[in-house]
């Protein structure tokens, strides 16, 4: 069943945002007021994020060197993805976006306040990534009653041999346009802070 999550609420991944910005506990030193300022920027970024997501679980029809064939004859021509899905009964296809507001704010700030822009950039990326974690958990709660669960590992379009063309397949399958996510001719998702991923579905026993 395809699901849309038009207004996702997640706990902001504060530590992951700081890590992405290079913060190392015990080593990075912040002067008085600096942490307050950075936290304020992070909070502003979080307020600008409007998380939306989508998911779809499909059975696996075939796996091999040529890639992965899913229910409905959906093909992902990626040997690496096929490797990751070995032993799985299905695939969880998902997408998430941090929304247009944060991306526009990053672009606006890039010109005259790059500090703000890099913080917003980290917030957008980590929020979108955390949204995928959330989707995995949400789908997991559904699957458990059928003695199934999603895998922790996931694979994203544009990495390894899973070409960006797969982004179009996912975009169409999940009807991402309905969530305000577009696709450029070069297969990039817009708004920029949008991600797609494929995880496996395995049986519990």
């Amino acid at each position: 069943m395809r699901k849309h999550y038009p207004s996702m609420r997640i706990a902001p991944p504060w530590s992951a945002i700081l890590r992405r910005l290079g913060f190392k506990a015990g080593t990075t030193e912040l002067r008085e007021g600096e942490r307050v300022h950075i936290d304020r920027l992070i909070q502003e970024g979080i307020d600008l994020v409007e998380l939306k997501g989508a998911s779809l679980v499909l059975g696996i029809k075939g796996l091999g060197e040529g890639g992965v064939l899913l229910e409905g004859d959906v093909l992902f021509p990626s040997a690496s993805l096929a490797g990751m899905l070995a032993g799985c009964t299905g695939a969880l296809i998902m997408a998430a976006t941090a929304g247009r507001g944060i991306v526009e704010a990053i672009e606006r700030s890039s010109a005259d306040d790059l500090t703000r822009a890099v913080v917003y950039d980290a917030v957008g990326s980590e929020m979108a990534d955390a949204a995928l974690d959330w989707i995995v958990s949400a789908v997991g709660q559904d699957l458990v009653r059928m003695a199934l669960r999603p895998t922790r590992k996931r694979f994203s379009s544009g990495y390894g041999d899973l070409g960006l063309e797969s982004q179009q397949t996912i975009w169409e399958m999940l009807r991402l346009e309905e969530l305000g996510i577009g696709l450029t001719p070069s297969m990039m998702l817009v708004p920029g802070k949008s991600v797609t991923a494929v995880a496996g579905v395995v049986t519990l026993a």
């Binding site: 290079g22 009964t89 790059l114 500090t115 003695a147 544009g158 960006l164 070069s186 519990l204 026993a205």
Partner: protein, 813 residues
């Protein structure tokens, strides 16, 4: 005896025992993975019958029907449609198996969809779906209902409303599932869920699944002080462990049962087991808690409000609560226009800013002429829910609009208001009571406002008496003490204060004022408002509808909290006023202006850097020396601190931006022939075609400029042809290329090839999240992992070019 009486009777004597897991028991009996347990049970009634019997013989007082996923949305994935009939059939099987020796609970689980405003399932569609299930279960003869494993409070509400609207007063248990952070996936905490669900009519509230008994104890303990209904705990057999790809629950029956005792001690009175538990676990659990008496409750006197993720406690001992008044179109043209156009950006902004300023509750009012208030109020409530976590006060005189907003609000909202008007009193009380919402009592009966406190109290008495018939208690009512303008009637404030005092002393009721009315018509209203707030609180005021963006009002509120003891040890007061923002450090007398410039760069002080550079120049610093001997060493020190991780990215960028401002200030003064004014090299930067990420490239550009390079930034998604053209035109020494994705890395190779084919011999430097040194070498480019390294690599390239060395690739990492 009715089920409710039967359960209450048992709970007065002992703990009520629920059954254990169904899914894992069915799997143990051969149910294959991936099938619908409900359809499987309908096809294999003997198997589910044996599960029910197993639990009944183990001593469960209640067995759950195997209908957890028997709703139209879940069943649709299996090509099955008749949810009502399936529920009826499975309920009959459970009844038959129990033989009347255990009560049968009609089990309702999540649809798997999120309900608006958090998801795409319309609230009424969710209610309709659950009604189908409830009808089938009722036809099958269940004794009670259980709504379980809910992760979306809104879905739990929809299911509970479906039960109430279908079978009236059936005993209904609602349990949510919380992750290790103590919240549901949609962010609800257990206390807010408890407040919302118990007021909406759940007979017992609690938690199930996700955690073992030990992890559930803190949840039960958190709910217990505010619980007005029995608390339920139905934990898993410990935390799931993944062993060789198989999820297992390792807690044995005895261990589980002993841990279950702690749940009772924490305040639970209805317990059972979830995933991984067996009849053995339930048998041991029953034996372990034998003789334990359930908690008798006794929640303190307080008015409880909740959003989906936050609880507000109003009442004696609680803080003076400010109800933010700004979401109200009266006198706000911009807001009126937005609301008429169906745009809600100002609503969201007001919501966030009021909460940031300390509003505990937000008043939401959309009353204006020529709008559909019912539709608009419902939509604005949804928008505010998405914008912030504060509980709401729904403000309308229109009963239909109130009902529509309360229905979709995923919490327990305060209703503003119900007056003594005979025409609307019963209708408003009926609606408000159905959703379990507390209300503000407006002591008005006709068109004129009672002037004297005694008259107001008479109306209050009348409304409270009628409200009691609808199940309202004193903790569900806030008396509006009717604040009138002191500029119109000098005696009016005294009557308001008297109303507050009498409501508290004579009727034991909490009160609220619309604060700003008191200062109407006066200049500098904030002082009158703040003073009146202090006076009202001295008379026992519980909360004020006010503008939390008034510093004076909020300062008085914080002071009042300290003085009346609700801000224990003045924590909140000190947090607000103790951390006084330090003045910007003034130039130390012993520090030279040049040293201050260096410090401003090191500290990323963009506000003062230009002024400090000016001071240094005024003191006779030579511009070229300031750049070469002060600023460049300072920014290099920043780079060193960044590379050793003492600084992180925002600090690096803040320093780089301060440096940029300093350079811009000083550049026109540099000796054109001097070393400082000469460029170190020309760099053309671009994110390659197909890639739209450019923040890393922007950082590199900033760092290079600060270090004396001339940078031409072509932006993102740039074709090789344009890069070659710019490189030729600008006489670039270096072309810097960025890409974030492995797939767009190929664009780097294409660009390098194109540059070479065009006869351009400039060096190429690449970087980006997935780019490596090996990849760079393979395409004949230098590699820099970040902005700091990019400067070093670029300098190394330029040094090699000066020496006439060929094949410079630099940046080995």
């Amino acid at each position: 005896m009715k089920t409710r009486d039967r359960i209450r009777n048992r709970l007065s004597r002992r703990v009520l025992i629920l059954d254990g897991a169904t899914g894992t028991e069915l799997q143990a009996r051969g149910m294959p993975p991936g099938v619908s347990p409900e359809l499987y049970c309908a096809e294999h009634p003997d198997i589910i019958r044996s599960v029910h019997k197993g639990y009944m013989l183990a001593g469960a007082d209640v067995v759950y029907t195997c209908t957890f996923g028997a709703n139209r949305y879940k069943l649709a994935s299996y090509g099955s449609a008749d949810a009502r009939e399936l529920n009826r059939r499975l309920a009959l099987i459970a009844r038959e198996a129990s033989g009347g020796r255990a009560m049968v609970a009609g089990d309702i689980g999540p649809t798997g969809r999120l309900v608006e405003p958090f998801g795409d399932l319309a609230f009424e569609d969710a209610v309709a779906c659950f009604k189908e299930q409830v009808q089938g279960l009722a036809q099958g003869g269940v004794d009670l209902f259980v709504i379980e494993t809910m992760m979306d409070i809104q879905e739990a509400r929809a299911a509970l409303i479906a039960v109430k609207e279908t079978v009236g007063d059936a005993f209904t248990i609602v349990t949510m599932t919380y992750d290790s952070s103590g919240r549901t996936l949609t962010g609800s905490d257990c206390v807010s869920a408890l407040v919302t669900l118990q007021s909406l009519g759940a007979d017992a509230v609690g938690c199930n699944c996700s955690a073992g008994p030990a992890e559930m104890v803190p949840l039960v303990a958190a709910m217990s002080p505010l619980a007005r209904v029995p608390i339920v705990a139905k934990p898993n057999a410990g935390l799931p462990r993944l062993k060789g790809g198989v999820t297992t629950f390792e807690m044995g029956a005895r261990e589980f049962a002993l841990a279950g005792r702690a749940l009772i001690e924490a305040g639970a009175s209805i317990i059972g087991g979830c995933c991984g538990t067996t009849p053995g676990h339930i048998e041991e659990l029953r034996a372990a808690v034998k003789g334990m008496r359930p908690s008798s409750g006794g929640a303190p006197r307080a008015l409880l409000l909740s959003s989906h993720a936050r609880t507000a406690v109003l009442g004696e001992g609680s803080e003076l609560a400010v109800i933010g008044e700004r979401i109200n179109p009266t006198g706000k043209k911009a807001l009126q226009e937005e609301l008429r156009r169906g745009v809600f950006s100002l609503v969201r902004e007001y919501a966030r800013s009021q909460v940031a300023k300390g509003a505990k509750v937000l008043d939401v009012n959309v009353g204006m002429p020529n709008v559909n208030e019912k539709e608009l109020l419902r939509e604005v409530v949804k928008q505010v829910v998405l914008a912030c976590d504060a509980p709401l006060c729904i403000d309308s005189s229109n009963p239909e609009a109130l009902g529509a907003a309360l229905r979709v609000y995923p919490g327990r909202a305060l209703v503003n208001s119900i007056s003594g008007e005979q025409d609307t009193l019963d209708e408003k009380l009926r609606i408000t009571s159905f959703y379990g919402a507390p209300f503000i009592l407006l002591p008005v009966t006709g068109t004129s406002l009672p002037k004297r406190a005694a008259e107001r109290l008479a109306v209050v008495r009348k409304v409270v008496a009628r409200a009691r018939d609808y199940g309202f208690g004193k903790d569900d009512i806030l008396v509006d003490a009717l604040t009138m303008a002191v500029s119109a009637d000098a005696q009016a404030p005294a009557q308001t204060l008297e109303t507050i005092r009498l409501a508290r002393e004579r009727l034991g009721l909490m009160s609220v004022v619309g604060l700003s009315n008191v200062s109407f018509g006066l200049p500098e209203r904030k002082w009158v408002n703040a003073a009146f707030l202090a006076m009202a609180s001295a008379n026992g005021l519980s909360c004020a509808i006010a503008n939390p963006e008034s510093e004076e009002v909020m300062s008085v509120k914080h002071a009042v909290d300290v003085l009346r003891g609700s801000d224990r040890d003045a924590h909140a007061y000190i947090a607000k006023f103790g951390a006084v923002v330090p003045e910007k450090p003034q130039p130390r007398t012993h520090e030279s202006p040049a040293s201050l410039v260096a410090r401003a760069i090191l500290e990323g002080d963009r506000e003062r850097i230009v002024e400090l550079v000016g001071m240094a120049l005024d003191k006779g610093e030579e511009p070229g020396r300031l750049v070469d001997e002060v600023m460049i060493p300072a920014i290099r020190e920043v780079g060193r601190l960044y590379e050793s991780k003492v600084y992180f990215l925002p600090q690096l960028i803040a320093s780089a931006e301060a440096m940029k401002l300093a350079v811009e200030r000083i550049e026109p003064l540099l000796d054109r022939g001097g070393a400082s004014a000469a460029t170190k090299g020309v760099v053309v930067l671009a994110t390659v075609r197909g890639d739209i990420h450019d923040i890393g490239k922007n950082i590199v550009g900033l760092m290079l400029r600060n270090n004396g390079f001339t940078v031409e930034d072509l932006g993102k998604d740039v074709p090789a042809e344009r890069i070659a053209e710019a490189a030729r035109e600008k006489g670039a020494h270096i072309v810097g290329l960025s890409a974030l994705m492995t797939t767009t890395m190929a664009g780097m190779e294409d660009t390098v090839r194109y540059l070479r084919n065009q006869g351009l011999r400039c060096a190429v430097m690449v970087g980006g999240a997935v780019v490596t040194g090996d990849f760079a070498r393979a395409i004949g480019a230098a590699y820099a992992k970040d902005g700091v390294e990019a400067v070093r690599v670029a300098e190394s390239i330029m040094a090699s070019l000066v020496k006439g060395t060929e094949g410079v690739h630099g940046g080995s990492r």
